[in-house]
């Protein structure tokens, strides 16, 4: 039982980062670890609702719903959402422990986890 922090920067689909984050988080959760994720810059858009399921494409929204369901904690950079106009379209509390946060929350994640990995 250890605590894993994950930070990433990229939005969904264009880059592999969000898929890697989901798979790594899932593996950690399945092994009984705690997972805390911080979405910075474009990464906040990985948590948008209504990402359409398209055959052959790994659905990022579903992936995040699943790891939230398994207990992952997800924090979204507030300012990053604001500037991108995507504040109102993120996954809601009903999906799990996902909420908007400031950069100091990343400091908290670094402090309270045993390892922090960054997925570029």
């Amino acid at each position: 039982m250890a605590r894993l922090g994950i930070l990433f920067f990229n939005g969904p689909y264009q880059a592999q980062a969000s898929e890697t984050v989901i798979k790594l988080a899932e593996a950690a959760l399945d092994k009984g670890h705690e997972v805390r994720i911080f979405c910075y810059m474009d990464a906040v858009n990985a948590l948008l609702e209504n990402q359409k399921q398209i055959e052959g494409i790994f659905n990022i929204e579903e992936g995040f719903r699943e790891i939230l369901n398994k207990g992952a904690t997800i924090r979204l950079c507030n300012l990053c959402l604001l500037v991108r106009g995507t504040m109102k379209n993120c996954l809601k509390k009903e999906c799990g422990d996902v909420k908007r946060a400031g950069t100091p929350d990343l400091a908290k994640i670094i402090e309270e986890t045993d390892r922090l990995v960054v997925i570029c």
Binding site: T103, A107, I110, E111, D114, L116
Partner: protein, 114 residues
Amino acid sequence: MTEEKNIVILLRQPPHGTLYPVEGLRMSVAVSADFDPITIAINDGVYAFLKNVDKTMYSMHIDFLKDIDLDIFIDEKSLIERALTKNDLIEQVEVKEHAEILKIIENSTVTIPF
């Protein structure tokens, strides 16, 4: 909570064209509440600290870090590769030999690249 952690914020991308260095410096400021992060510029990241670069988006972060006595180190090797010298850079940063930069990264607990 746990033992003291050494945080290195590594700026490796140029200051304009992407938001990475701006966001990296913002992160240094943010984690400075709980840690003493060291900010290091390597590769094109060194361009962020040229005297004449437009720093509108991040000069306040540089000032903040200096006000609370946190270091911003510049990799000398990266400077040389770009035909730049210490004199081309602002005063708030300190140029360090590549070997010293390596040592700081080696001794970090967490390195966050931007």
